[in-house]
């Protein structure tokens, strides 16, 4: 009789709330129970805020009751509620929530409590969303596997020995494992789209300037964007609708209106798919390169065939400066990060080390030496070097010029009449713990297909596109600036086309194993794999 509330999509939950079939408290209790039970095995959450979530849920229920009382037969009042009202949401732990922790996955922010709400938190409060907790992430959003979290790695619910992707690995794993129907992440070079792909869910990085960054711990200011994770396009679009829009406190947030159609994507699969007729998609040949898993490429080609069968035109296009994306990204992003992370000095908040008899520089060195992990230090060094006198022109300035060229590639393709680009999100499916941590460049290559989109400031979305050896593959759609609605329509169309596929709506294969509260944690699994790998290295052939 009882349906599993955590198996529902957010818009399905919203319908039940409106019909009075369930309450926000019931939804929240159900999700809390799963999150609390599975967090041992997944480590997706750095904080599960049972008390706060239930308080918000009760407030949401009270408003629903009031709306039902006050409205004409409850209809008008209920209709005024946002689809996210009463729905549990996960927040990446670099989003400031007043009075709460905000570690950004780093030891250096241990103990820090944000004294203010991020803009997007204000927006979510305004629509009545329920904050289930704060999700795990790579330290300061630097990483593609969530293995660089100071609070331990996260397991992918499709295979607990593999990574969920990163940096928003906790947000992606939590949605994939049904701990929440929705979560927010940030994407600086692929940190929403890549984990969405690896966890088999929908994740969007909006146009730079679409969502206010106020209250979000900065990694690289000119690249960071906040975006939604969900298990389908409609839910993701509703979450973007709630948080997007101009905020005077972020000078880079754009005064561009947020279309309400984001709340009204086609409900029927056929209607959604019909939108594709006559649309033109570009297949950038530079995104199908050596190093890409051939089976992933097969899935992407199959996805492209779906689009063509539905009446879309797909043509080969070229983005000639794609190859420079990685190199220029790893100058621009670390350069900005080296300045953005300078504030973590132990003087005002977070970890603070004071050395007996030392001067303030000694205290800084001790605090930052202990507080930052190896990857963060590596990027601070990269960025500091790139900005140093004598190197600035050769590195930072040149990278900015190349960035302009990368952007122009996209502009020209879209100017030629292409509606959106189709590409893989990640060159591979989820990889095992430790597979890339020994080689920073191998890790950086995880984002080769996503980071040019950040460099150009464009919106991109990753949607499920089948499985490869049992693990999810993500298809990436990239559109011109401010085309989020179009991308969601395309994503919704793709969902409609693939609704009958065996993998569509399939729950992660290791969900049951995630219930083992006494089994190995992701850190245990990572350590075991590292031991195995070391043994393999010394084993005679």
């Amino acid at each position: 009789m009882a349906i599993d509330l955590t198996s529902l999509l957010a818009h399905e939950m919203a319908a039940l709330l409106r019909s009075g079939s369930t309450s926000s408290r019931a939804l929240t209790e159900a999700h809390l129970a799963v999150a609390e039970r599975q967090n041992h095995a997944l480590n997706a959450w750095l904080l599960i805020d049972r008390e706060g979530a239930l308080r918000q849920a009760d407030a949401a229920d009270a408003r629903i009751a009031a709306a039902r009382r006050d409205g004409l037969d409850g209809v008008a009042g209920l209709a005024a509620l946002h689809p996210l009202h009463g729905i549990p949401v996960g927040l990446k732990d670099l989003i400031s929530v007043e009075g709460g922790q905000c570690t950004a996955g780093s030891r250096i922010l241990a103990g820090y409590r944000a004294p203010y709400d991020a803009h997007i938190v204000e927006r979510l409060r305004a629509v009545g969303a329920v904050f289930l907790g704060k999700t795990n992430m790579d330290e300061f959003a630097m990483g593609s596997s969530n293995e660089y979290s100071a609070y331990g790695p996260v397991s992918n619910p499709w295979d607990l020995d593999t990574v969920p992707g990163g940096s928003s690995g906790g947000s992606a794993a939590a949605v994939a494992a049904h701990h929440v129907p929705l979560s927010l992440g940030t994407d600086t070079g692929g940190s929403i789209r890549q984990p969405a792909a690896l966890c088999g869910i929908v994740g969007m990085k909006p146009t730079y300037g679409r969502v206010s960054r106020y209250g979000i711990v900065a990694f690289a200011s000119s690249l960071d964007q906040i975006g939604p994770f969900a298990r389908d396009a409609r839910d993701a679009a509703a979450l973007l609708h709630a948080v997007a829009g101009r905020d005077a406190r972020d000078s880079t947030s754009a005064p561009v209106s947020v279309p309400d159609e984001l709340l009204h994507l086609a409900a029927s699969d056929d209607e959604a798919a019909s939108w594709l007729r006559g649309k033109r998609f570009g297949l950038p040949r530079e995104y199908f390169v050596a190093g890409m898993d051939p089976d992933v490429e097969r899935r992407i080609r199959e996805g492209v065939a779906f689009l063509e069968d539905a009446g879309a035109r797909v043509e080969d296009v070229s983005l000639p400066h794609t190859d420079y994306g990685l190199a220029t990204y790893y100058i621009v992003a670390p350069a900005e990060a080296s300045a953005n992370l300078a504030r973590y000095d132990g003087v005002r908040y977070g970890l603070s080390r004071r050395l007996e008899g030392g001067d303030f520089i000694a205290d800084y060195l001790a605090t930052r030496g202990e507080g930052f992990g190896a990857e963060v230090k590596r990027r601070i060094m990269l960025g500091t070097y790139a900005l140093s006198a004598g190197y600035y022109d050769a590195f930072y300035l040149k990278a900015q010029k190349v960035r302009t060229l990368i952007k122009r590639d996209f502009d020209e393709v879209f100017a030629s009449g292409i509606d959106a680009l189709v590409a893989p999100t990640s060159p591979s499916v989820a990889f095992r713990f430790g597979a890339r941590t020994a080689d920073p460049v191998a890790m950086y290559l995880s984002d080769a297909c996503t980071l040019p989109v950040n460099m150009a400031g464009l919106p991109g979305i990753s949607i499920p596109c089948g499985l490869s050896e049992g693990l999810p593959v993500g298809l990436q759609l990239i559109g011109p600036a401010w085309s989020e609605l179009m991308l969601f329509r395309a994503a919704r169309a793709f969902e409609g086309l693939t609704a009958a596929a065996s993998w569509s709506g399939m729950p992660p294969t290791h969900l049951a194993a995630s219930n083992d509260g006494a089994g190995p944690t992701p850190a245990d699994r990572a350590a075991a794999l590292a031991t195995l790998a070391a043994a393999a290295l010394v084993a005679p052939r």
Partner: protein
Amino acid sequence: MPSVAFAAALDRYEPVIGIEVHCQLRTASKMFCGCSTAYDGAAPNSHTCPVCLGLPGALPVINRRAVELVLATGVAIEARTPDATRWDRKNYFYPDLPKGYQISQYDLPLAALGTMTVDTSDGPFTIRITRAHLEEDTAKLVHAPGPGGKRLSLVDFNRSGAPLMEVVTEPDIRTAEQARRYAEELQLLLRSIGASDADMDRGQMRVEANVSLRLRGTEAFGTRVEVKNMNSFKSVERAINFEIERQAALLDGGREVVQETRGWSDERGETYRMRVKESSDDYRYFPEPDLPPLRVDPAWLASIREGLPELPAARRARYRDALGLAAYDASVLVADPDASRLFEATLAADADLDATVVAHWVTGEYLKLRNAAAAGAGAAPTADPGQLAALVRLVAAGAISRGNAKEVFEEHLASGAPAEAIVAARGFRQISDAGTLGAIVDAVIAANPAAAADVRAGKVAAIGFLVGAVMKETRGQANAAAAQAALRERLGGAA
């Protein structure tokens, strides 16, 4: 004051001086957040928010008024304004810098290549101004004894993020006097356009001097020393002169000047080492990604230009050329906006008044009384320009004496009563009428035959006694000049 050694040093060496001034702009809120700038005397860290505390996730928003004030300064020094400008991050670590970088302007300042001309004892001197740019102030470090005798450094973030304008000159300055005059003139300019209160002792205007010496006749710059902590115009002049003498002595002794930052101690009358610059700082400037570039709309700039008041140099020129004031009087008036206002309003009340006479009333009596009241912490007196004009007219007409007029003015400042009413109440109106005065003079001569005889005998000095007697008889109301004329007419004695 300059010693023989100093004069000798100047024979051999030419000082090369550049000035950097930081001044807090007069805005209601800080540079990048909404916190109030009225934190003077407030409890530490009471004027702060996530932005000026550098909390994770906080972002800056430009204060448009601060930009306008720098643009206005640029217009006033005839500088170039870029079509577009941007902000840059200046990266360095210090506990008073919450973000680990200061948002400043690197290669696109809001004003570039201006000039300022100052009057010095050697005549007018023009200084090129390299740039004026906008940046944010740092927090304030307070060193205090802590528990267990430990030295504590406390940080007060009230000042953090206050808007600062940095104005940098070319190394055009050659004397300490020129440097002082430049600082004074800049202060006057900033105050008159409302850009800054520029109070040096409140830290609203901080002057730093880069001083080096080179042998006269040579081109290459010597090693320069940066001098800080000069809290008055006088200390600017003293510190630079001290530094010239100190560096000359080093060079004369065959030693080298060390590139360093030195502080000025007013009590000891000397500069002292603060820190040695071993290598040039690398601030790793790069464009601030949190703030889009700012386009300076020509219409905006034009409206700023139109909104500027008459600038000090133009006002001085007008006072001299159109009103005929002496250069000194013009300078004193223009240097004091309050005095300048009274002067102009008095002339406006009566265009027939002699501008020089009004100027002297204002720069003499008015400033004396106002400053005395200010020193005594009394209420600032206000002079009604119409009443000052009336008073000047009464004196010019011989209706009251200048001495009495000063008393009237003093009372007017104290009570606000009209000049005529005070004159009437105190019986200050002079007896100038020949008939009335003649009768009194005749009576005085009759009553003082000996003195009268002395005057007749050519002892001209004795006339003073008789004038005094007339004044006494009239309780000071006689027009002294008229009384003297009447006495001479009767007793002879050459003028």
